[in-house]
């Protein structure tokens, strides 16, 4: 659905994008992560055909950004970082205006606008000036604007910035619904890792204009770390049985395949070569030593771990 081939863009002496390439499949939620100034917004602006790259190209639904920008603009919806709504005009007028600009048939505009206003719970205030709306309502209106023409691809640039937790959650749920039910391809630029972790099928991490990693979250995790992380919770009476924390630590550390062991009260945090192979041995050893176990949990690396490691690795290289 989106195919980026060697895009580069310079602003005077600053390399905003440096030969980036990636592919996003139809119906996928693609997370584009990176720190501020990494090149996320520049990429979206090039894909939306409002900025020309210095080199490379991109295909959106097989339309080339250089050859058919107008066709691309018709099939995409872009939620910019700012809501971009006309605050002196009503929410309804805003949607009607963009509906007309996006060639929504005259006889369908009103119905489509009502549908979106109802969906986003804006119907009651639809005739009020949108400048009087709360931040969350403005964001909802902006998303309605993005959706007015039923786009095939949606670009979301920091969609939950400035929203309260409830509004952020509602928005994330809606985005998820869009990708699952309507098979819309979503290109999500964010530095909110919780959001990306919840929503994205695939992730690319960009830093200083270069893509430093791309893949599914678990693929990225495997790329960075070999092995698994396990957390074992113990019943906190082992001290009464005369067993100390350091004894538990030494007992587990001596097992082959244990890379790291941290004992903290009733929790043991482990880094293992393979949880499947080593974890049963540890559990057996703990039980045979008279230590009771509440649970053993295999922990994946969070997206935050992955992201921070990638960014750190990249700066260490330099």
């Amino acid at each position: 659905m989106i195919e980026i081939k060697g895009l580069s863009k310079n602003f005077k002496n600053i390399k905003a994008l440096d030969n980036i390439s990636l592919t996003v499949n139809e119906g996928e939620v693609f997370g584009f992560l990176g720190p501020n100034g990494a090149g996320k917004t520049t990429t979206i602006r090039i894909l939306s055909c409002i900025l020309k790259p210095d080199a490379g190209t991109a295909l959106l639904d097989n339309y080339d950004i250089h050859e058919e920008p107008m066709k691309i603009r018709k099939l995409i919806g872009v939620l910019t970082e700012n809501p971009c709504i006309y605050e002196r005009l009503s929410g309804r007028y805003n949607l009607m205006f963009f509906g007309k600009l996006y060639d929504v048939p005259e006889d369908q505009i009103k119905q489509r606008v009502d549908e979106l206003l109802t969906m986003f719970d804006l119907q009651d205030r639809s005739n009020d000036k949108s400048g009087t709306y709360s931040k969350g309502m403005k964001k909802k209106l902006a998303i309605s604007r993005t959706m007015i023409h039923n786009p095939k691809i949606i670009f979301l640039d920091e969609p939950t910035t400035g929203l309260d937790p409830k509004a952020s959650k509602d928005l994330r749920d809606y985005i998820k619904k869009l990708s699952i039910k309507r098979k819309i391809t979503i290109f999500l630029s964010t530095h909110n890792l919780t959001e990306a972790e919840y929503l994205c099928d695939k992730i690319a991490v960009i830093n200083k204009g270069k893509i430093i990693a791309i893949g599914r979250p678990n693929e990225l995790s495997r790329m960075l770390w070999s092995g698994d992380r396990v957390e074992i919770t113990l019943i906190n009476d082992y001290k009464d049985k005369g067993i100390s924390q350091s004894e538990i630590h030494d007992m587990i550390s001596s097992i082959d395949g244990v890379n790291e062991c941290i004992v903290n009260d009733n929790k043991i945090h482990l880094s293992l070569e393979s949880a499947e192979k080593v974890n049963p041995i540890i559990i057996k050893k703990l039980i045979s030593s008279g230590i009771d176990i509440v649970q053993a949990k295999i922990e994946g690396h969070s997206l935050e771990d992955i992201y921070l490691s990638l960014i750190k690795e990249e700066s260490d290289k330099k």
Partner: protein, 255 residues
């Protein structure tokens, strides 16, 4: 063209909600018309003999040509208010990006923005010039019981029909170019205000005995034709220049 009109309608609706802009758009020509009519009302009342009146209107004082020229300021002043809000306002209020990603061509977007300044300006200019013309003729009838001098004359009619649209278009085109360089509405209005200066200089021509709107002698006819041609040339040059600079990629990097 259809999308240019959609943008124009939206901008006009926005302008109507701003008392500051809409109020100024009406106040400027209304004030000018009011001052002109009060001046002529007093003049007609204190000069009972129409023969004396003619020498004052067109003689050393040149009152009538001076006021006529003042009406040419309207199409230069009004677009600076509207265009600043329409072009720079979109950047300041951070709404421009949604327009730039929409399926409209650069030319349609530019045309829509030009129309929103052009149409209200022409409407208000001609509306208040109409009031000015009717007012002067009514004042003649009231004071002298008859029309003692023909108003408007051919020069003023041609000036209104040719110079008002041309000056309006030139001002808007200059505002388009300015809008890409500045970041604030006030800044745009201030720079746009400089545009008024060459037009104001016209007002001093009658003092030099060059009343180009009085087409009674060959020199004035020549001057009128020359200035009309210069305006046409400027309008065409600035049109191509504004088309050249009004590109999405230029606008987006200036946000």
């Amino acid at each position: 063209m259809k999308k240019a009109i959609i943008i124009m309608k939206k901008d006009i609706k926005e302008i109507r909600t701003s008392f500051q802009i809409f109020g100024t758009m009406i106040a400027t020509p209304a004030l000018l018309t009011g001052i002109a009519l009060v001046t002529f009302g007093i003049l007609f009342a204190i000069i009972p003999n129409p023969i004396d009146l003619y020498s004052i209107l067109y003689g050393a004082g040149n009152i009538l040509p001076m006021y006529n020229l003042m009406f040419l300021i309207i199409p230069v002043v009004l677009p600076t208010y509207i265009a600043a809000d329409s072009f720079v306002g979109e950047k300041v209020r951070k709404t421009i990006e949604a327009l730039l990603v929409a399926p409209i061509s650069d030319n349609e977007l530019l045309l829509g923005k030009v129309l929103v300044s052009l149409i209200p300006t022409l409407l208000f200019s001609y509306l208040f010039i109409g009031v000015y013309i009717i007012g002067i003729n009514i004042l003649q009838l009231v004071n002298y019981g008859a029309i003692v001098f023909i108003f408007p004359d051919l020069g003023f009619i041609l000036g209104c029909l040719l110079h008002i649209p041309l000056l309006c278009i030139i001002t808007i085109e200059i505002m388009v170019i300015i809008s890409l360089k500045v970041k604030g509405i006030r800044e745009a209005q201030q720079i746009g205000g400089v545009v008024v200066i060459p037009v104001i200089s016209f007002m001093f021509l009658p003092f030099a005995g060059l009343n180009l709107y009085s087409l009674s002698n060959p020199l004035n006819i020549f001057l009128f034709t020359l200035i009309t041609l210069i305006f046409c040339l400027l309008a065409i040059s600035f049109y191509f220049l504004s088309l050249k600079v009004f590109k999405r990629s230029n606008i987006i990097v200036k946000i």
